[in-house]
């Protein structure tokens, strides 16, 4: 591998010191003189017609500066996918879930705003609710939206290859099911928004968002303001994991309140509102029939899925496609059929969450592979190794994998977790309370197409050399939401220009700086990283050309390294070229006196020669994917893959599951920052483990969330988490900068199934409903005792 001075290292993140000292500013930390506080009126009912909204009492409350409803906001439909714009800023005809937004208030303080909200009177006509996603499509069910016949928001029907042929070739065919529950992303920072309008009618919004560019577009569209008059700034963000990628009513309403009042307005969600707004993981109902040949070669997959998406489409169209398309890898699978339905129900809308759409599908498929391995009498890792794709192959749904360390990752976890030794025992110890399980995963490294139809560049990066010389500033619209993209951009720039990290300033997350589609689909390192590299190279070329011109040497003979200009063709005399620099810095005491030319001098001399030096980099993926309907979703310039082994112990009496350790390996192509890659893997392990064992949104009969808080919606604590071993695999992706591709989401893929497979090993029973709570496990163990013949030989 090429030697780098800073890439592939473990330098601390650029925002680390600000974050350990409390200096980092998150949206709610920002203060402004005269700022008003906003609050939202949420629907108390899951499904009702709005007959009348009376805001007069609220308006008269002293301290209230504005009250807005659909009358002020208008009813321009918006959403995520242009084909499914089904939301309006406020409800006007109906409310569709408990939490749906009806009105908003701006007042001098929070108490007044909340009191005003409580004074808004809404007359409803209650409607029957649809809460069960499996039954939402049935004839005669109440309909949520006129535009969704039978409550079907999207459906996908794909058939690649020929599954009938696959069936004929199969030696084993089996059908299995897996159901999950809606999740909450449970990022620690509740959404917060500040909006302000200046005297020229420019709207600026600060928001804890993952996607400033898309939010800018949505604000402009829904509020009917020219795009260039809208600026979205992302301060430090306390995690997003998907839900913060779509535009929210909080954002739209706060802007509207700022426009109405002419004052800055802040609106911050409380934790319950985070749950109500949701836009997190869908509920999935998967059924898969998989066939393999006698030698273990995969023959076909026939997959049906219903997604319960809650009240609105949000990201759900992409979700339903991802749920099918990402099973195309990481195994060679020639024949695949997929029938997916995304339905709407009277619950908070679901959207994207880490591992978008693919997590539960992956879990079931990997469980199936385990069950098939058992039927074949083969080791489950061997069965997987037999089927894994290699770099250069294309899946049946036309996804091309240009680099692919799947085999290496599987072998790495197998060896590191002492799989062979431990697993060889499990034949004898199956069902005795200790278990080990494995699984793999596959994920995009950046969506191949933007959400709106366009040839738009997916990102641009502008790097400007300080006119005074010395350092550079990298400007990018990319959104660092905690994953560390600012650090990646700084490291890439420092590497290219031979600068210390401290001389690279990164400003980002501002729609004024550049177009960047945002932090979703694990795209930033590959796409913005590539643009950033090109911007730095552009800068470097210009500096070296300027210096070469003065020195009368060919620019190819010069390089930038270790903060200096390096000559590749023997020693050069810099005394002449630095004369002017020395003259203009008379009085400075830190003047260069070395034989070499420092970057500080070179960059200033380049400015004297040519004026401001600005480098630009852009990235747009090449056309990707097939020509079938929905072929764009799942395409990516590169694919990450991962493998994992989990070990569990189970109390066979209480059903309590302890995850003893997790060993994961992820192919990220090339680790720009090794610590950050491991951090993404470990965070994925935690989120996946939570989903496997404890996380579920619980609704009552009226569609109200009964556990909308972080005590009853349990996420893993430090006590729940085992030691997490993260192994980095580097396959050198040809389409990624320096060979890099994703890690942020792909690493979650094998987590749930490796735990499910380990729990089976420990207990001898299979569970078809997530999360795998002690109650469900005990019930399944009891059931298995009653009819042992139906379970696989324990």
């Amino acid at each position: 591998m090429k030697k780098y001075s800073i890439l592939n290292s473990r330098v601390p993140r650029v925002d680390a010191v600000d974050k350990v000292t409390g200096k980092a500013l998150y949206t709610d930390d920002i203060k402004m003189p005269g700022i008003l506080i906003g609050a939202i009126l949420h629907s108390p009912l899951a499904h009702a017609r709005i007959l009348n909204i009376d805001t007069s009492l609220a308006e008269r409350l002293p301290g209230v500066k504005a009250v807005v409803t659909h009358r002020e906001a208008g009813t321009t439909p918006y959403g995520v996918s242009p084909a499914r714009y089904d939301e309006t800023i406020f409800c006007h005809d109906k409310v569709r879930y408990v939490g749906d937004e009806i009105a908003a208030v701006a007042a001098i303080d929070l108490d007044t705003a909340l009191e005003a909200v409580s004074l808004i009177k809404v007359d409803f006509e209650e409607l029957p609710v649809v809460l069960d996603g499996r039954r939402a499509m049935e004839e005669g069910r109440p309909l949520l939206h006129d535009i969704y016949k039978n409550n079907i928001c999207a459906e996908v029907h794909w058939h690649f290859g020929d599954i009938e042929q696959g069936k004929k070739e199969s030696y084993i065919v089996r059908t299995d099911h897996l159901t999950s529950k809606m999740q909450d992303a449970a990022f620690l920072e509740p959404q917060s928004v500040i909006a302000e309008v200046d005297s020229h009618g420019n709207l600026t919004m600060w928001s804890s968002t993952q996607a400033p560019h898309y939010i800018q577009r949505t604000l402009a569209m829904a509020l009917n303001i020219p795009l260039h008059k809208v600026r979205v700034i992302k301060p430090a963000v306390g995690g997003g994991f998907g839900p913060k990628a779509s535009c929210s009513t909080a954002e739209l309403a706060t802007c509207l309140l700022a426009i109405k009042t002419g004052k800055p307005v802040k609106l911050t969600f409380d934790r319950e509102q985070v749950f109500l707004h949701s836009r997190a993981r869908h509920q999935f109902f998967h059924t898969m029939t998989t066939g393999v040949k006698k030698d273990g070669t995969l023959a076909f997959l026939d997959h049906q899925c219903i997604l319960d998406g809650g009240a609105y489409a949000s990201f759900g169209i992409a979700t339903i496609y991802y749920a099918g398309s990402l099973l195309g890898g990481p195994y060679r699978l020639k024949n695949m059929k997929y029938d997916g339905y995304r339905v709407v129900t009277n619950k908070p809308a679901c959207g994207a969450q880490r591992g978008h759409g693919a997590v539960i599908a992956r879990a079931l498929f990997e469980v199936q592979l385990d069950r098939i391995a058992e039927e074949l009498g083969t080791d489950p890792i061997e069965l997987r190794l037999k089927n894994v794709m290699e770099a250069g192959e294309t899946t049946c749904n036309e996804l091309f994998v240009s680099s692919f360390g799947m085999r290496e990752a599987l072998e790495a976890v197998r060896d590191s977790a002492a799989w062979k030794k431990k697993r060889s025992l499990s034949g004898k110890t199956r069902g005795q309370g200790r278990g080990i399980g494995a699984a793999c995963g596959f994920f995009v490294s950046g969506a191949g197409y933007p959400i709106y139809r366009s040839r738009t560049y997916h990102c641009t990066v502008v790097t400007k050399v300080d006119d005074v010389g010395g350092g550079v500033t990298v400007s990018s619209g990319a959104a660092d939401i905690g994953q560390g993209s600012d650090t990646v951009l700084a490291m890439i720039t420092a590497e290219e220009l031979g600068l210390p990290l401290d001389d690279v300033k990164v400003i980002s997350g501002d729609s004024n700086l550049s177009v960047d589609l945002g932090a979703y689909s694990s795209r930033t390192t590959l796409m913005t990283g590539a643009a950033c590299r090109d911007a730095a190279r552009d800068v470097k070329r210009q500096i070296l050309e300027a210096i070469a011109g003065v020195l009368c040497v060919p620019p190819e003979t010069l390089d930038l390294k270790d903060g200096k200009v390096e000559s590749l063709s023997g020693e050069l005399d810099f005394s002449k070229i630095r004369e002017e620099y020395l003259r203009e810095h008379k009085g400075f005491i830190d003047l260069p006196n070395e034989l070499c030319l420092t970057f500080r001098e070179a960059s200033r001399i380049a400015f004297l020669e040519r004026g401001s030096i600005v480098g630009v980099g852009m990235y747009r993926p090449p056309p990707l994917g097939g020509s079938f309907k929905g072929a764009t979703v799942g395409t990516s310039p590169a694919f990450g893959c991962s493998a994992q082994v989990a070990e569990v112990s189970v109390d066979l009496g209480t059903g309590e599951i302890t995850v003893e350790n997790i060993t994961g390996a992820h192919d990220c192509g090339f680790a720009i920052n090794r610590t950050q890659v491991e951090g993404q893997m470990q965070g994925s392990m935690m989120m996946g483990m939570g989903e496997a064992l404890m996380e579920q949104i619980i609704y009552d009969k009226k569609g109200r969330i009964v556990n909308a808080n972080l005590a009853e919606y349990k996420i893993p604590t430090a006590m729940d988490m085992p030691h997490l071993e993260a192994i980095i695999v580097e396959s050198n992706e040809p389409h990624g900068p320096y060979g890099a591709k994703e890690v942020g989401e792909g690493a979650i893929m094998p987590v749930i199934p490796s735990i499910l497979n380990a729990v089976y090993d420990a207990t001898g029973v299979r569970i078809e409903e997530l999360p795998l709570t002690p109650e469900r496990l005990v019930a399944a163990m009891e059931e298995a005792k009653k009819k042992p013949s139906l379970q696989e030989n324990p």
């Binding site: 473990r10 601390p12 993140r13 925002d15 680390a16 010191v17 600000d18 974050k19 350990v20 000292t21 409390g22 200096k23 980092a24 500013l25 998150y26 709610d28 930390d29 203060k31 992303a185 449970a186 990022f187 620690l188 920072e189 509740p190 430090a236 963000v237 306390g238 995690g239 994991f241 409380d270 934790r271 939401i481 905690g482 994953q483 560390g484 610590t675 950050q676 491991e678 951090g679 470990q682 965070g683 994925s684 392990m685 935690m686 989120m687 808080n709 972080l710 005590a711 996420i715 604590t717 430090a718 006590m719 988490m721 030691h723 997490l724 993260a726």
Partner: protein, 158 residues
């Protein structure tokens, strides 16, 4: 009716008139501008708002300002001494124990208390101590490793 209270925050004495329902979290963030202390839930479930009150790790969202009358409060802004990071802060930086950073201030305060009480906690003691501080980003692995580095050292300073 507002009540007059006096308290010491990070070594600085303050006298303030506060509403009886004002929380310590609001007092710190809004009245004193110490926004390093975070609010993740407001009801004692997440630990993001943890500060030290007379040396004891406390959820500032569940503590009324009037309850800390006469107390000494330490927040994340007070961990740095003479512009230098504390060893614990430095260990968080070096080990990559920070991602989004929203849990970090609370995590640092809880751990500061732990290490003052117990200079060499074992891994299980560390995990137990921070189990009231949720982190959604890191899986806790690098946080635990950072704390372990400080816990291994014989240097009494945290």
């Amino acid at each position: 009716m507002k009540k007059l209270i006096s308290l010491n925050v990070n070594g600085i004495a303050h006298e303030l008139a506060v509403e009886p329902r004002r929380t310590l979290l609001e007092l710190l963030r809004e009245d004193l501008g110490l926004t390093g202390t975070k609010k993740g839930c407001g009801i004692g479930d997440c630990g993001a708002c943890t500060v030290l009150v007379d040396g004891v790790a406390t959820f500032s969202c569940l503590t009324l300002a009037i309850q800390v009358n006469g107390c000494s409060v330490e927040t994340v802004e007070g961990l740095t001494k003479d512009g230098k990071l504390s060893r614990l802060q430095q260990a968080f930086v070096d080990h990559g124990a920070i991602q989004c950073g929203y849990c970090t201030p609370g995590m640092l305060m809880t751990t500061t208390e732990l290490l003052r009480r117990n200079q060499h906690p074992k891994e299980q003691e560390i995990r137990k101590a921070i189990s009231g501080n949720l982190c959604r980003c890191t899986g806790y692995q690098k946080i635990v490793e950072a704390i372990q580095e400080v816990a291994r050292s014989e240097n009494e300073e945290i």
